[in-house]
Symmetry: C2
DNA sequence: GATAAGATACCTCCCGGTCGGTATATAGAG
DNA sequence: CTCTATATACCGACCGGGAGGTATCTTATC
C-alpha cells in the first residue's frame, strides 16, 4: 500500500495528489489518537507521512484545519447512516436498537476518529467548532426524535424524559471507546445487543416472567 | 498530601502557604476546565492567581505535578465515598443506586475536577499516570463488585455480563458532565433516580403488569 | 509558460523551567 | 530584650528549544 517512499525529490510515475493528502490525514489520525492534538507537532505528522511542511500547507490551511477535516469526515459519515435509520420504516424501538449499534460500530471501526472527536474537539475554534458542534447536535437530535416517537407511541414508559433517555444511551455508547478492545473476544454486535436489552428490558429480575 | 522526601520541614505560623497553594490550584481548575491543560500556560495560571512563577515552583514540582494533584484530590474523595457505600449493609441493588448517585453528584458538584480528569488525564505520564489510572480502576472495581454481587444474589438478570453492566452505568454517569447544567431546572438527584429506573427496571412497556 | 505539488530554509513567538536574589518569621544565644 | 542564623515563601529576569507558520524555490504535467 505504501508506495511512496521518496525522501528525495523525485516524482514516481503515477503520483497521486489525493494520496498525499490521505497520507497526511492517516498519519495525523494515528498520532492525534496516540499523543493528542497539542502534543503532536506538525513536524511529527509530516515526518510520519514521509513528507514536508510544504506539502502539508499545500493541502491544509492550518493544523486546526486538519483537525476539523478529520472530525468532519467522521460526523458526516455517522450523520448519513443515522438519517438512513431514522427515515426507514422500522418500528421506533427497532430504530433505537439500530442507532445503538451504529454508534458502537463507529467506536469499533473508527477508533481514531472517535478518540479525536471526543478528546480533541475543544481544540477547534470559531466557525470550525460551531460546524462540528452543530453536526454532533444533529446526530443527538436523531436519537432524541426516535426516542420521543417511541414514547409517544406508547412503546416506552413515559415517566422518564426522552431527553434523559437520549443522554443515557449516548453516554453508554460513547463511553465504549474508553474500554472496548476491538481485538478482544467480545464482538461489538454483542455489546450493542446487551446494551439494548439492558436499557429496554431492564436488569431487575422480578416475578413477572 | 503526599510528601515523600522531606528534610525536616516546618511551616511558620504567620504565613499562609496553604492559601497560596489553594489559589494556584483554584486558578488552574478554572483555566484547565476552560481552555485545557496544554492551552493554559503557567504564566496564565500565575497571573490569574496574582502570583508569580517563583511561587508556583515553590509549591509544585512541575505543571504536570499540579495536574496530578488536582486529579488526585478528586479521585481520593470519590474513592472514599464509594468505599463507604460498598462497605455498608445495604442491599446490592440499593448500593448500585447509591453509586450512581455518587457518580452523578461528583459531576454536579465538582465539574472542573471531572472535566479535567476526563479530558486531561492523558497529559500525565509515568508514575503519576499509573497512580491516577490505578485509583480510577479502583472506583470502577467497586461498581463492578457490587453489580456482580447483585447478579450472584439473583437480584439482577445473569444473561448480561456484570462487566458490561458496569461499563454501561459508568458511561451514562460519566457522560453527564457533557450535558448536565447545574443551573438548570433538573436536579442531579432526579437524574440519578431516572437513570437508576431506566437501567434497573427498563424502558419497555409491556402487558405483563 | 502556467500551474500544481512539494521541498527547504527560516522567522517569530512563547512555553516550561531555572536561578539568584529578597523578604519575612522563628529559634536560639547572650 | 536584641542580635543573628536559618529556613520558608516568594519574586522576576532570563534561557534554550520547539512550536506553527511563511517565503521562496524546484520539479513535474499540461
Amino acid at each position: 500500500m505504501v508506495e511512496k517512499k521518496s525522501s528525495r525529490r523525485r516524482w514516481p510515475e503515477g503520483y497521486d495528489p489525493a494520496g498525499t493528502r490521505r497520507q497526511l490525514v492517516d498519519s495525523a489520525l494515528r498520532l492525534f489518537e496516540e499523543r493528542g492534538f497539542d502534543r503532536t507537532s506538525l513536524q511529527q505528522i509530516v515526518e510520519d507521512a514521509e513528507l514536508t511542511k510544504g506539502a502539508f500547507y499545500h493541502h491544509f490551511q492550518s493544523k486546526e484545519d486538519l483537525l476539523w477535516q478529520i472530525q468532519d469526515e467522521y460526523l458526516e459519515s455517522q450523520l448519513k447512516d443515522a438519517r438512513k435509520i431514522v427515515e426507514s420504516d422500522a418500528a421506533p424501538v427497532e430504530q433505537i436498537r439500530a442507532l445503538i449499534f451504529l454508534s458502537l460500530e463507529g467506536v469499533a471501526k473508527h477508533r481514531p476518529h472517535v478518540a479525536i472527536f471526543q478528546q480533541e474537539r475543544r481544540n477547534l475554534t470559531g466557525e470550525r467548532l460551531e460546524d462540528v458542534t452543530r453536526k454532533r447536535d444533529e446526530v443527538d437530535a436523531l436519537f432524541n426524535e426516535t426516542i420521543t416517537r417511541a414514547v409517544d407511541a406508547g412503546d416506552l414508559r413515559d415517566d422518564i424524559s426522552p431527553r434523559l433517555i437520549t443522554f443515557g444511551i449516548l453516554g453508554m455508547c460513547a463511553w465504549a471507546f474508553q474500554w472496548f478492545n476491538p481485538r478482544g473476544t467480545m464482538k461489538i454486535k454483542d455489546v450493542a445487543d446487551q446494551f439494548s436489552a439492558m436499557i429496554l428490558d431492564g436488569l431487575i429480575v422480578d416475578s413477572r416472567n
